[in-house]
Symmetry: C2
Subunit: 433 residues, 2 copies
Amino acid sequence: MQMIDNSLRTTNGPPIPSSSSSSSSLSSQQPTPPSIMTILLRLYKIFLWITQISRLTILLMKTLAGPLCAAIRPGRKKNVENKVVLITGAGSGLGREMAIKFAECGAITILWDINETTVKQTAEMIEEIVNSIHYHYHHNSSKQLTSWSVVDVGDENQVAQAAQKLRNQFGDVDILVNNAGIAPCEPFKNLKSEKIREIFDVNIMAHFWTVKQFLPAMEKNNSGHIVAIASSAGIMGSPYFTAYGASKHAVVGFMKCLYEELDENSQIRLTTVCPLGISGTGIDIPTKTRFPWLLPVMPLEYAVGLIFDAILREEELFVVPKTFKWIHRLLSIFPQKMASTIWKCLDYSVVPTGLYAPIGRAHYHDRIYRKLSLANGYVHHNNHHHHGSTHQHGQTNQINNNNNHHHSSSPSSSNLSSSSPPHRPSRSSSFRY
Amino acid sequence: MQMIDNSLRTTNGPPIPSSSSSSSSLSSQQPTPPSIMTILLRLYKIFLWITQISRLTILLMKTLAGPLCAAIRPGRKKNVENKVVLITGAGSGLGREMAIKFAECGAITILWDINETTVKQTAEMIEEIVNSIHYHYHHNSSKQLTSWSVVDVGDENQVAQAAQKLRNQFGDVDILVNNAGIAPCEPFKNLKSEKIREIFDVNIMAHFWTVKQFLPAMEKNNSGHIVAIASSAGIMGSPYFTAYGASKHAVVGFMKCLYEELDENSQIRLTTVCPLGISGTGIDIPTKTRFPWLLPVMPLEYAVGLIFDAILREEELFVVPKTFKWIHRLLSIFPQKMASTIWKCLDYSVVPTGLYAPIGRAHYHDRIYRKLSLANGYVHHNNHHHHGSTHQHGQTNQINNNNNHHHSSSPSSSNLSSSSPPHRPSRSSSFRY
């Protein structure tokens, strides 16, 4: 039996020196012809391997088929007509624009935001759209096609209550867009503990609370779509974004783990979006880009258009702009130090709020780039026309979980959201992309 | 001026169609010889480009020099003699073994853990070592060389108090090892909200609280080393690890962002450790590996040896085993779906606690593998000898921040730590690696 054991193992790797003296005495003997039992076991082993390798081949071909079909027929998008779509942080920026896109396609949009004023504005915009396209999509409908709630997504209780209300009114959610987020951009040493907790509550914990509410029904129906708006900071390191970057990495990790956990044949789709630099989202962080043709600061509408298409195509991980996607993939092969150096030469970064004298690694390059900026004109500040320049989508407005004085406790965040434009920019604004 | 503007931009990318009619009329005219001003600006532009490219080349060569030197002289390790080393979660598993390694090299070890019994045991082990090597390293010293505290690292106040005590007694921390972590392995739908919060408090928030305490002194002294024990789940998706994976992704993200934020010439070192599968860390999650020769479940001491060496070599990102590092890098180039399929065929995964009927994607493979497991014998359960099999380091035992009844509120975690062996396994145990 000892010999059979050894012969089995050798097919997997080098033979293991056995501690028992009986086997060592066996191996020192003359080679004996293998017994029928051994041969049969070996054949069985080979059969198993063939099975496994063919299964792997089939699985890989099946996996390849999807992207190949998509490449041949890129226009294939899913229909969201009459689907129930929940968008968090829908009061401004990316959330508002996405809500409008969904409404334009005939979806039933449910808007959540912590800021009552801005979410109401979005709802009003959508009602206008709904009224104008009403006869195209919903001939017979007298039912409500949009709804808004003031929800602090970082607070599990508020999420649970709003979710219950939503289910009573509209039934199960078909598409959950976890978009709400805050993007404080500060050097690590300036980050207050409360701020760190707030970032985690809004940017990642909220995903757990909403998915907990809506995934069970999706699993029951074996359909649904969960979208997470992460960030470029969720797949790479960015200075001044320690807490934000950590929380966005967590979002990417959460979605990856959830993807692995879902059933192989599950019809539930997951989409993680990692955009690099969108301007005009309502948070005032200046972004500088050295090669705008390579890594542009995308205007909000352009970015939302791309992201919305990716959602309809049900992409798993959508990194935008495409150039960033490839640069990131390329850099991920290099050691961290080299990748960091190359990325710094591309010099796409944010200028932290309230930081008058730049510090850290970024400073090293800042000195040179500041000299050049006049000649090249590549430093975009948020007061420039339409380069409203925030590194992030980042909508809205959140307060700490432990704090009971919700709205009064976050003057800065309410400032942020109130500073976002009440009316969306006209579609004719001319950007070159 | 319009023309100059255009000529400047064309070097950066395609010419921008200007909306003003004056420039379009210019371009339709016969080409006029460029003015001296234009030529000078162009030359200046070219000069700037040459400067930038040479700077990039020098930077890359400088960056390459380090790894090249390390490859030629791989034995170069830093000296930790008499350095003040703080290790969190030092009561068991990876933390205990690392503490012992540091003590053996003559470092002053400060042990933090939430579990008084186990951290005391570690301290006793270290005292023995210190006494035996006392005459080698510390001829003249009558000073204390180790110390332990009961600290819940997820609680900022406890961290701050313990840090103050530490500074009074030993001065600044030279090496901070953020090791404490918990690894509940459960399907998403079974995860309790309290558990999710606990995971984030111990696994990532603790890093903020400790780094906040000790980074300022490191920056002042321009020396120091911060080590984060993340996980393979911090760089890839794993089923049944949604919260754990998210928190570990956050650790990796935090360290990456901190790295980018530190000054270019900073002497502070950062090391992020991502191990895949270590057995014998005291948490009872069975791990199965299909190709042990490719992706082994590493015994604790072997893993700690590698990790300790990487810390002394000051590596930025240490992924272990090496095979996993290369498989992960390779897979990161593929689309998520394909990478996931290939990874699943390698079948390295954990069996979640309390999950009697496996669900999800993992199940698909589980069915086949369960059939094969008898023939191949590759399913390692934690009751096997020395394949104590946890996916993760994961020491300690933590309780929720918001809960005041600290120790009584976490029966499961105290169970975990009490189940860890009180005495470390003898060094002579024979593993083949």
